[in-house]
Every structure is written in C-alpha cells, then in structure tokens.
Amino acid sequence: MSAMKIALVLAVALLALVSVAEAGVSFKSLNSSRTLTVQAKIQATNVTSGQAHVGTDHLVISWALNSSFDGTGKDARYVNVKIKLCYAPVSQTDRGWRKTKDDLEKDKTCSKGITQQKYVSTGNTTTWRITKDVPGAVYFVRVYAVDAVGTELAFGQTTDKTKTTNLIEIVPISGRHVSIDIAAAVFSVFSVGSLMGFLSLEAIKQRKANSKAGHFFRAAFTDIIRGHSVLREIKIIKSKC
C-alpha cells in the first residue's frame, strides 16, 4: 500500500478512536441487554404507579436478573448496579434540559441518582425516601448494571419501551413557608410605608416654607413694582427737564 493510503487509514483510525473515547455508551447498544427486571412500589399504598409525596413517601425498588438469562453468563462482568430516577416523556416536552440522548454521557433523562448497590444475580431491594430536591414530574425507575469502571453494560426499567406504563408522579414541596410569606409582606409594607412617610414629611415642610415665603415674596413683589413705577416716573420727569 502506498504511504498516502497508510496515512489515511491511520488518520481515520485515530479519529475513530478519539470519537469513541469521547462518547459514552450508546443506549441503543444496550437494547439487547435489557437483562434486569425492576419493580418500584410506593411504600404507603404498595402500588407501582400513582402519586408519591416528596419528603414523606418512600419508594421500594427491587431488581434482579431476569430469569430467562439465568446461567447464560451474560452477567459475568456486572460489578455494581446504579439505580436512577428518570423523567417520563410527558415531563420532558419543551424542557431541553431533560432531553433524552443516545449517548449516555450526555443523556439527561436519568439525572437523579437513587443509590448504588453491588450486583448479585438474585437481586436486591432498596427503600428510598424521596428527597426534597426532587422536582414535581412523572418518573420511572431505571437500573443500570455497570462494570468496575462504571461503564453501563445492561439495564432494566419499571416501564416499557415507550415509557408510558407504570409511571410514578412525584408531588414536590413548594418551598414556601409561612415565615417567608410574612417576612416578604412586612418588608414590602415597610418599603411603601417609609416612602409615603418621607414624601408626606417633605410636603408638610414645603407647605410651611411656602406659606412663610409666600408672604415674603408677595411683599417683595409689590415693593419691586412700586419701585419700578417710581423709577419710570423719575425718568419721565428727567426727560422732560
């Protein structure tokens, strides 16, 4: 092969390497590795879909290797599992910051991590109290099986491929407190009140100054007029002389 062709092949290989090194695992590549079964229940009502309240309700998440994969050796490299809370499509519309992307490094669907556990083929359960920073939205739970480095090898999720079944709606806190409301009201009233107070004080002072000045100016003005007319008379008399 000519030197040019070798160089071209090397360049392409280098570029391929770089592009592979930068990107994360492609979610589509995991499609064949949906080897885990996951179930999430809202503890209070013991149902797999419905409303859960932040701060008070718990999610009981149980995962295990799908029985159809038992003994196939597919789970040989699984070291840990990462359990994540993911947005359902209905909560992703018009919100680019929750967009689903194939590159798992850039994917923002499952931005809330729940916990991480060691992988065992018989599976495990975890109970998670929904933390107060979880926004109000519709969710499902996904579990990634990862290797020692953290690269995703397989996954499982509580919902189907179209992400429309078994969805959990989480009701958030508003963040408001009565004390904040009261403080805001007090400060606002203080602001407007002190402004009104200042303005009325100055208006009163002004009126006092004006009434004194009014008399003064009126007297001065009449003096000036009289003075002018006297001067004019003197001029007329002078011109006549």
Binding site: T93, D94, R95, G96, W97, K106, K132, D133, P135, G136, A137, P172, I173, S174, G175, R176, H177, I180, D181, A183, A184, A185, F187, S188, F190, S191, V192, S194, L195, F198, L199, E202, Q206, A209
Partner: protein, 537 residues
C-alpha cells in the same frame, strides 16, 4: 440669580420639555450663560463651599471618582449605585433558573415569556421617567421608583405558579427606568464637557449590575442551601431578600442625602410648571417626526437589546450545553454585565475621539463598526461548540456590544435640541423592545436550539445596524454622503415654527447649534470663523 429678560438660566429652563437631558454631550461648550470659571472656593446659594471646580451654573467641571463629596460626587455615586441595584434585581432570577424551573415546573416557553416580561415593563417606565424627572426632580423619580418596585422583588420569594413568576418579573422590570433618572441627574450635576464621560461611567457601572447579580445570586443561594441547610426550593426564595433589601436601603439613602441640583432640591428652588403643558405635544411631535429617532431606536434595540437578552439566557445556555455547575455558569454569565464597567465608557470615548478627527461622520462610522463586529462575534458564539473558545468569544463580544451602547449616546444628544428628553426615552425604551423581539423570535419556540438562536441574533444585529447608513445630517453629512450647505442653525432652528422663532423661543437651540459646530470635524472648522453668532446673549 438670573437677570430678567433674554438671559434665562438653567433654573428657569427646568420644567421645559427637552430640558431633561440638556447638557448631555461630550463637547457642548456652555450654551446658556457665560463660561467664566468660578474660583475654587465657589459657594452654593446657601453659602456652602464646593469641593470641585464648578462653572457658573455650579455644575462640576471635574470628576473625582474616589470622592464622595456633596453634592456632585455624592450624586454620581448615588445614581450609579441605585441604577446598579435595579439591574441587579431585574436579572437576579436568570442565574437561579435551573432551580426555579424545577420548583415551579417551568417549560422552555414559560422561561422565554418570563424573559420577555423582564424587559417589557421598563419600556413604559422609561418613557414616563423623563417627564417625572422634569416635574419632580431625579431624586424623587429615582427613590419613588426604587422603593415602589421593592414589593415586587419580595413577591418573587412567594411565587408558586408559572403566571406568578412571569408577572413578578414584569413588575420588577419597571425599575430599569432608573437609567433615565441616572442620566438626567448626571447632566444636572456635571458640566457639558465632561457630562459624556459622567453619563458613560454611570450607565456602564449601573449596567454592570446585570453581571454582578450572576455572580452574587448563586453564591448567596449556595450559602443558604449548604451552610444554613435550607431545602433547594426554599433557599432560592430566601436569596431574593438580598435584592429586595438593597432596594429599600438605596431608596432611603437617596431620599435622605440626595439632592436634585448643586444648589438644592427642586422644591426649594422656584420653578415655572406651565411650560410643560404648553409645549409637551410640540416636543413630542418633533421627537416623533424626526426619522433619526427611529433609526437609533432600531440600532439601540440591537445593541442594548442583545446585551439584555444575553443577560437572560447565558447562564442557562452554559449550564445546559456544557454541563458545568450552576456557580461557574453564573460566573461566566456575569462577565457580560461586568464588562460594562470599562466598555461602555470606552465606547463613549471612542465616539468622542472619532468626532474630533472626523466629526459626526466619524461617530456614525465608529458606532457602525463596533456594533457590526459585535454582531459577527455573536454569530461566532452560536457556532462554537466547546467551552473555552465560547467563553473567550463571549467576553470579546460583550466588550464590542457595550462599547456600541456607549457610542450611541455620543450621537443621541445631537439628533434634536428641542426634544432631547423624548428621544432619549424613546431610544432607551427601544433597547428593551429589541430584547423582547429577539427573545420572542429566537428563544421561545422549540424549533431553535439556544445556540442557533444566538447565531440568528447576531445576524439580525448586523442587519439592523446597517440602517445607520440611512442617517443623514444636512450640516454634517452621513456615513456615505458628504454634508450639504445647510448649517447647524438651520437644522436646530428648524425645530421651531415661524411664530415661535418670532418670539425668539429658539434661542437655546441656536446656542446649542453654535456649540455643536465641533461635529463638523477638523477639516471644516475654518468655516466657523465666518459665521459669528449674532444671537449671543
């Protein structure tokens, strides 16, 4: 005090429309009364000494930035700090949007609407503020506005719906009218030859509030969320008490120690108010029918408008596109506003330097160049995909855009003498309209990603700046056309009709015309010796 008859001083002119921003030029040699320098130990009407050299109107002739001496330098600091406070609170929400959007369940469309709302309130308030300053004085105008918008800032802490959020951002934006009171106050306190610099510094440092807020609000939020341990969704609400309290404090300080004029407050100086109602419509007419007003409204719309839009979207853009944390995104976003500290006064100075060499044509070319380069850099920002270069381009872009804003106000004082207040208010409001238009067109619908929106914004900025080629001053020329034989007196005198000229109501325009001859540029200055002013009073 003023002698009777022809010699009217500034104090008599206060209240007359168009007097709002009289004195706002970099070059105006004092048109109203003689320019005798008053000795250093000048005293005001009450006998107090001035610490700066003043002219015969008691306006300062020097700017000592480190001084807080009454009344001039204190006024300078009060007005830029109160303007900065208003910018701070208007743009306090964007750096915290990643938290707020989760708390309130906002969508991209909601956020865009809120961004539009946050610059629309000030359109109306800027238009009104000029008149309010004329009637009641800049001290009252500034203090009333800043204390009346404080409740809106506190309301941000208690919003829980999308509509509430949008409404609150709308009401807070009324505060941006302090721009007009700030500029008005500067021109009441500083002599015509340095008022350009004073205005540029005050406006630039005030605009920097938009940048300071992007740094400070995430820090305050972190402090409350991590150190005090409040929930995320409560912490951001508490953070808003900072701008609210700043409003109250500044309002009280302005009322307590502020002063309208070097000699005292409006209420203690005699004024005639009838003139306002008499000629208000005339002033409006001459402002509105001058086509240059609208050209500069469009160009300022894509100069300040772009800056306001970027203030609103940039922290979110970096947070979402490059996956960096909130505080760092806020820091990067803040550089845009902070660049104002130097770039806006620099733009004013560049305009002045161009005028010294080429007259008004130089000013126009300087403005076009700065703004077009800004537009090109904006396109570049939208096209770049990596963090480092994006930050560098962002910083350079903001320098050019803000310098263009400063350069715009080097030209505005020359468009009209009679309708100066109205034109300044209209151009200022135009900046906000440009921001609204941009946010609605490019950042509120789903079809454009944020980077595409930024790129298109740059394209539109370049296109709208091109209308500058249409500006033509008969006495000075335009960008492409040389001047005609018309004189400055023809141009400024032409704003008065026959009847008014017969009564010599246009005498101040004529004085201004004589002083604006410097805009001819050095090559035509020799012609000024022929036309000795006949109306010197």
């Amino acid at each position: 005090m003023a002698p009777q008859g022809e010699n009217r001083t500034d104090a008599d002119l206060t209240g007359e429309p168009g007097s709002s921003l009289h004195g706002v030029t970099g070059h105006e040699v004092f048109p109203y009364i003689n320019m005798d320098t008053v000795p250093e130990e000048a005293t005001d009407l009450k006998g107090r000494k001035f610490s700066l050299p003043v002219d015969s109107e008691h306006k300062a002739k020097k700017l000592k930035i480190y001084s807080f001496a009454r009344p001039h330098m204190l006024t300078f600091h009060l007005s830029w700090i109160s303007f900065m406070t208003c910018f701070f609170s208007t743009f306090a929400a964007p750096p915290l949007l990643p938290i707020i959007r989760d708390n309130l369940g906002l969508t991209k469309t909601n956020i865009a609407h809120a961004g539009v709302a946050s610059v629309s309130g000030s359109i109306i308030s800027r238009l009104l503020m000029g008149t309010i300053c004329d009637l009641f004085g800049p001290r009252y105008g500034c203090a009333i506005l800043i204390m009346a918008t404080a409740p809106a800032v506190f309301c941000m802490s208690i919003v829980s719906t999308v509509d509430g959020f949008i409404l609150v951002r709308f009401f807070i934006s009324f505060a941006l009218a302090t721009f007009v009171s700030c500029q008005f106050w500067m021109s009441s306190m500083f002599n015509g030859q340095i008022v350009g610099l004073a205005n540029g510094l005050a406006a630039g440092w005030g605009n920097a509030g938009g940048g300071i807020t992007q740094l400070v609000m995430p820090l305050v939020y972190d402090l409350i969320a991590k150190n005090i341990g409040a929930d995320n969704f409560t912490a951001w609400r508490l953070a808003f008490f900072l701008p609210g309290c700043m409003h109250i404090v500044m309002g009280l300080i302005v009322l307590a120690i502020g002063q309208d004029l070097p000699d005292g407050n409006y209420s203690s100086l005699k004024r005639s108010g009838d003139k306002v109602t008499d000629t208000f419509f005339k002033v409006l007419q001459y402002g509105v029918t001058n086509y240059r007003t609208w050209i500069f409204t469009i160009t300022y719309g894509y100069c300040l408008g772009v800056e306001l839009t970027v203030d609103n979207i940039i922290a979110q853009y970096f947070y979402d596109r490059f996956d960096i944390n909130l505080t760092i995104a806020g820091t990067i976003g803040s550089t845009v506003g902070l660049m104002n500290i130097i770039s806006r006064p620099a733009g004013g100075m560049i305009s002045d330097m161009a005028a010294r060499r080429f007259g008004m044509r130089g000013r126009l070319w300087a403005l076009w160049t700065l703004q077009t380069i800004g537009g090109v850099l904006c396109i570049g920002l939208g096209l770049l995909g990596s963090l480092g270069p994006s930050v560098v381009v962002l910083v350079i872009f903001s320098i050019f855009m803000e310098a263009a804003c400063g350069a715009t106000f080097g030209i505005i004082p020359f468009i009209s003498r009679r309708s100066l207040g109205v034109i300044s208010g209209a151009v200022g409001a135009g900046g906000n309209v440009g921001s609204i238009l941009t946010q609605v067109l490019f950042f509120s619908n789903q079809s454009y990603s944020m980077e595409k929106g930024i790129m298109l914004m740059g394209v539109m900025a370049i296109a709208c700046t091109a209308v500058l080629f249409l500006v033509y001053f008969p006495q000075w020329g335009g960008m492409l056309c040389p001047p005609s034989k018309a004189t400055e007196e023809d141009y400024y005198g032409g704003e008065w009709n026959e009847a008014e000229r017969a009564k010599n109501l246009h005498r101040n325009s004529l004085k201004f015309a004589e002083n604006s001859r410097s805009e001819r540029g050095p090559s035509r200055q020799e012609q000024t010796s022929d036309s000795a002013p006949t109306t010197r009073v």
